[in-house]
Amino acid sequence: MIPSPLQSLSWPWRITWVYLTFFLFIPMVALLLRALTLSPAEIWRIATDPVALSTYNVTFLTALAAGAINGVAGLITAWVLVRYEFPGKRFLDAVIDLPFALPTAVAGLTLSTIYSNNGWIGGLLAPYGIKVSFTRLGVLVAMIFISLPFVVRTVQPVLQEMEAEAEEAAWSLGASPWQTFWRVLLPPLMPAILTGVALGFSRAVGEYGSVVIIAGNIPFKDLIAPVLIIQRLEQFDYAGATVVGSVLLLISLLALLLINFLQSQGRRYL
């Protein structure tokens, strides 16, 4: 990566690299070097400790479930916002971004109140024995909340570009609405949907603020990996925090690679 002499001299170029080095590269290297001071056997022992394993289970499976739910819901939402006219449409479109604008502490606070046993929605579910706040279901609700906008916002522009002609052609050739959906609409939308799901998943995996407030944070039940890192730090268990943090970092980087791959797939369709 050798920039031309002119670029290497320009001030924007220099400031960019100094800033990145100081605020991004050095901290990342600090984490990786700290992890490397441990022996491989030790890393493996800490990374696969039963509590750590249970937090991966809760974090990744719940984030995956949130991603899948938002994949379907986001597709329907994007469809409704692009293809239909109805009163209040602009308002709904603007409200979709609320999870990006609302601090996660506020989200966790209000969701935990509403979905608690005597809350507005939790109170309706309690008679059926469904508890949301302070359970893994609460973690799911928080994760769905914070990853809600991604699929809507990745699918919306693709849907806008798509011509209604292909659907009309399928209709007039006698395809059922169901066939039209599966064979004509879904394939070109798939890369956008998967990109949105992957973005939402990666956001949900790293989420701390809203989950820590709505969950009970009990190991083997609803403790997520980011909360475990903080608990380990509070016990001055730096090795434990470092290893779990590195596992999370690794998964984030893999998710990023997947997202980049999906986006390059999406470009081929357009």
Partner: protein, 288 residues
């Protein structure tokens, strides 16, 4: 019905319309219900809970010492973070836009990296670097400089998580406006500084504003990264989101919801500004 007129189904209005409308309104209701359960009802709840005790109780919360300290710290951290990230974002966008060099795509991905890293992991990195047990710990202790459990740590954590916002909004705008005007200004004898202020900045101002709004909202609301580095010392290193968490943990609902109402208003202002910018300008929404 189908065995009478199979191919012309879409052309017979009487047969097709009621069916399509049913699907349309069914889907709209589904979406409204989904968004109500997850977004609208929770947002409404913040207002209702905050005003439950009346304006007087809200006033008590807003004038309490710990609340004011948390608000002050949040504002200070934001006021340091946002300008620094603006300078970085503009520099990064100027360095990358309309240029080709090896590793360009990689550099863009690197700038986006903080969005993929869990804020808690970002905070952990800073603790491992500047904490008492960290790489620079002994050095900082010798110089009696406190970064972790103090304002510099909070600022660095906030900078980390909000780093990409400005760059990713300004970069596409710069690419779209091209380099012709800058070249013209340069031929007419403008210095690069003049060109930036008089030509480049006006052409990207809306995208810059858009990035600023998003960066500001995230900086004021950041929780995970700050929670790791701040130590959460009430009245000293507690930001507003941490204040909310602690008030909630101590069952002090009026305080938690008072602070939540304030941050909720910030979210509403953010959404309104965002909406106006998207409607009145050609700012693109970029989500990666």
């Amino acid at each position: 019905m189908t065995d009478v007129l199979p191919p012309s189904r879409g052309l017979t209005p009487t047969a097709a319309r009621p069916r399509v409308n049913w699907v349309k309104w069914g889907l709209i209701s589904l979406v409204v219900a989904y968004l109500a359960l997850l977004l609208l009802v929770p947002a409404l709840n913040v207002v209702v809970q905050a005003l439950k005790g009346g304006w007087a109780s809200l006033g008590t919360v807003f004038t309490s010492r710990f609340f004011l300290n948390a608000l002050r710290l949040t504002l200070i951290a934001t006021l340091i973070t946002v300008p620094l990230n603006t300078v970085f974002g503009l520099c990064a966008a100027l360095a990358i836009a309309n240029k080709t060099f090896p590793g360009r795509t990689l550099l863009i991905s690197i700038i986006d990296l903080p969005f993929s890293i869990s804020p808690v992991v970002a905070g952990l990195m800073l603790v491992l670097l500047y904490g008492n047990n960290g790489w620079f710990g002994p050095l900082l202790q010798a110089g009696e400089i406190k970064i972790i459990f103090a304002l510099p740590g909070i600022v660095m954590a906030t900078i980390f998580v909000t780093m990409p916002f400005i760059a990713r909004e300004v970069l596409p705008a710069l690419e779209e406006s091209g380099t012709e005007q800058e070249e013209a200004a340069a031929t007419l004898g403008a210095t690069s500084w003049q060109t930036f202020w008089r030509v480049t900045l006006p052409s990207i101002k809306w995208s810059l504003l858009y990035g600023l709004i998003l960066c500001n909202a995230r900086a004021m609301g950041e929780f995970g990264a700050v929670a790791v580095v701040s130590g959460n010392i009430t009245g000293k290193t507690q930001t507003l989101p941490l204040f909310i968490e602690e008030a909630h943990a101590q069952y002090d609902n009026p305080a938690a919801y008072g602070a939540a109402l304030l941050l909720g208003c910030l979210a509403v202002v953010t959404l309104v500004l965002k909406y106006l910018l998207e409607r009145n300008t050609h700012v693109r929404r970029t989500y990666h």
